[in-house]
């Protein structure tokens, strides 16, 4: 069942103010399988995507001034797993990847990130993430999205990577194995990407680990601005993002039978992500000189 035209409309005030005509047309052209009440079965709504895209487009173009390359590596229609590095205290990198892919794919494609469960325990936040097409990271959800031909985003470092301290910038945490196993099982490619810039949008001083554990959160940050400036302290610095997508990697099906092969494939993906980060750092060095601190 396709969504009715009434549900396809964006909030005209927001869209008109923030989106150029061509982008409005792209959002309205995005096809969402309506489960009967204006959302797909995952809870994604075109209204949610449209409003978020109106804001994210502005951030993408004018705030983070994203420079990206390698969009030809993203499948135009078929399912794939998009895997990269994670950083920056709040997941602005995920928002920028989603926006970047949506802007540069034809027809527009939505990357659906597998999100940590704690998000869905929080009032409003869980509903917001769901309406934007971001789903809890369970295997069944992965299977369902892949079966429907979606692009799935995974940060194999986990949510903890958002709270990397300054001295560990651009050093990746170890990767979980799930993305490789699932990609092998479904026979879909893994598209590696590297994000440069998000690491500098906050300066993490320390993590209040005991409090984070007590509240069942991945971390509670102390930065140069948070909590001193209250919620305003969570606003990221307007650092330019450099996003690069690498060639799709096809996972050896033997990863389903052998732990050694799986570990090897995970390392291959990790190396590919690191290569994209390295490319991004190099492009930034040429464009800006030394990275901002």
């Amino acid at each position: 069942m396709r969504q009715s035209p009434a549900r396809m409309r964006l909030r005209p005030d927001l869209a008109r103010a923030l989106l150029p005509e061509s982008e409005r047309a792209r959002v309205e052209a995005y096809a969402l399988d309506d489960a009967g009440h204006g959302t797909d079965v995952f809870g994604t709504s075109t209204e949610g995507i449209g409003s978020a895209y109106a804001l994210a487009y502005w951030l993408h173009r004018y705030y983070f001034r994203v420079v990206s390359a390698g969009h030809e590596n993203i499948p135009r229609e078929t399912a794939a797993v998009v895997v990269g590095n994670h950083s920056g205290l709040l997941p602005w990198d995920a928002l920028m990847i989603t926006t970047d892919v949506f802007r540069h794919s034809e027809p527009p494609r939505l990357v659906r990130f597998m999100v940590d469960f704690f998000v869905y325990r929080m009032p409003f936040l869980g509903v917001l993430f769901r309406s934007l097409g971001q789903v809890p990271g369970t295997r069944r959800n992965f299977d369902g999205l892949i079966d429907e031909g979606h692009l799935i985003g995974i940060f194999p470092e986990g949510a903890e990577a958002l709270g990397k301290p300054v001295e560990k910038r651009y050093q990746m945490h170890s990767f979980s194995h799930g993305h490789v196993e699932l990609a092998a099982r479904h026979g879909v490619p893994v598209v590696p990407f590297g994000v440069v810039g998000a690491e500098e949008q906050h300066t993490m001083i320390t993590n209040l680990e005991p409090l984070a554990r007590a509240l069942d959160l991945p971390f509670i940050p102390i930065t140069r601005t948070f909590p001193w400036l209250g919620p305003l302290g969570l606003l990221p610095k307007p650092v330019r993002y450099y996003i690069h997508y690498g060639a799709p990697l096809f996972i050896d099906p033997a990863a389903l039978q052998s732990l050694a092969v799986r570990e090897h494939e995970v390392e291959r993906v990790r190396d590919a992500v690191y290569e994209q980060i390295h490319t991004g750092l190099e492009v930034r060095r040429r464009a800006e000189g030394n990275p901002a601190r």
């Binding site: 489960a35 009967g36 009440h37 409003f124 769901r130 789903v135 069944r140």
Partner: protein
């Protein structure tokens, strides 16, 4: 199923005399004789009305506790009979299969809808009734050569939480939390009794797990919420649901009864969406309260007579999504509806 010599199991049992009534088999051909336990339920009334539209249904025995419901008294007495029985009494259950009407042509199908919920708290009598009724009815059905046994369970058996799958299949995690309501545990107990007999060679044992029913005045948790004045929901949460209707559930039950198939199946509504959209569609405006105060607000509402919904029954259902995946039922039963509908006369 075959034995060592390659003979079918049923044939071996017949030749050894182990089966007393060799003509009994899974859904034997001919017109159907159906026992429906829990005839007071609105879903049972709907189901009986639908079954009587089919020529292939010869006789229905409705069983309840007390007098025949008014909605059933006008049915043709040659095709519908009603009896009162306490299903937690083994003898009374056994007697249902021994009426004169069934001497020549015995019952061949049993539907167990008689489940008593009690969200107010632990009640041993209710627990005994629920579990013993399920046990006695199933035991008697197997002893009397029933070919199809259907137990109507509930989607409340599923664990609900932030780790939820977008669609919940039949093998999803069950709510086995010790703090879960006793009624939920009773349903799981009764389900397990059925599941223990699912490989029975002569009886197709089925368990259906329906999504919440909206409308039709039914006593489902979801409908009681919708009938509240106003429904009280937590701020900042809007779970995805795919509720069904009384009519659709009756149709699904009918398919389950009349067509071949056994096992455990989800049955759900046609559409899925956020709870708030279902309320909007019915022009119901909910009252939102902070999550931690939801139970207290619900208790107060019940004291004031504004609702019969118990937030304690499934405390997480108003926070987290539960969308049932009924694709197995769709392909096994709903896809074959046309073949069945050809026998309809009403």
């Amino acid at each position: 199923m075959t034995d060592e010599s390659g003979r079918p199991e049923a044939e071996r049992l017949r030749s050894s005399g182990a089966v007393e009534r060799p003509e009994m088999g899974t859904l034997r051909p001919g017109r159907r004789r159906i026992l429906i336990a829990g005839a007071h339920r609105k879903i049972a009334v709907e189901l009986i009305g639908r079954l009587l539209e089919y020529d292939s249904v010869e006789l229905i025995l409705g069983v309840g506790d007390g007098a025949c419901p008014a909605a059933l008294v006008n049915h043709d007495s040659r095709r519908f009979m009603y009896r009162s029985a306490s299903l937690d009494r083994r003898r009374q259950v056994d007697d249902l299969f021994l009426f004169d009407q069934f001497r020549e042509r015995p019952l061949d199908t049993v539907v167990h809808l008689a489940f008593a919920g009690n969200p107010k708290g632990y009640d041993v009598r209710r627990h005994e009734y629920n579990v013993n009724a399920a046990r006695h009815l199933l035991d008697a059905s197997l002893r009397h050569g029933i070919g199809k046994y259907v137990f109507l369970s509930s989607d409340s058996v599923y664990h609900v939480g932030p780790r939820g799958d977008y669609k919940v299949a039949e093998d999803a995690e069950l709510d086995l939390d010790p703090s879960s309501p006793t009624t939920v545990r009773d349903i799981i107990d009764a389900e397990f009794l059925c599941r223990a007999k699912m490989d029975h060679p002569h009886c197709e044992v089925m368990v259906l797990r329906p999504a919440g029913v909206i409308g039709g005045g039914v006593l489902s948790g979801l409908n009681l919420l919708f009938e509240s004045h106003p429904p009280v929901l937590p701020i900042g949460f809007d779970p995805m649901i795919n509720p069904t209707s009384k009519e659709r559930l009756a149709q699904d039950l009918l398919l389950a009864l009349m067509l071949h198939g056994k096992g455990l199946f989800n049955v759900a509504g046609l559409t899925a969406g956020p709870l708030s959209r279902f309320l909007e569609d019915r022009k119901i405006v909910p009252l939102r309260v902070p999550g931690p105060t939801l139970r207290a607000a619900n208790k107060l509402q019940r004291l004031l007579g504004q609702t019969r919904y118990h937030a304690e029954y499934q405390p997480r259902r108003l926070f987290y999504s539960l969308v049932l995946d009924d694709s197995r039922f769709e392909t096994t039963f709903r896809a074959n509806f046309e073949a069945l509908d050809a026998t309809r006369t009403g």
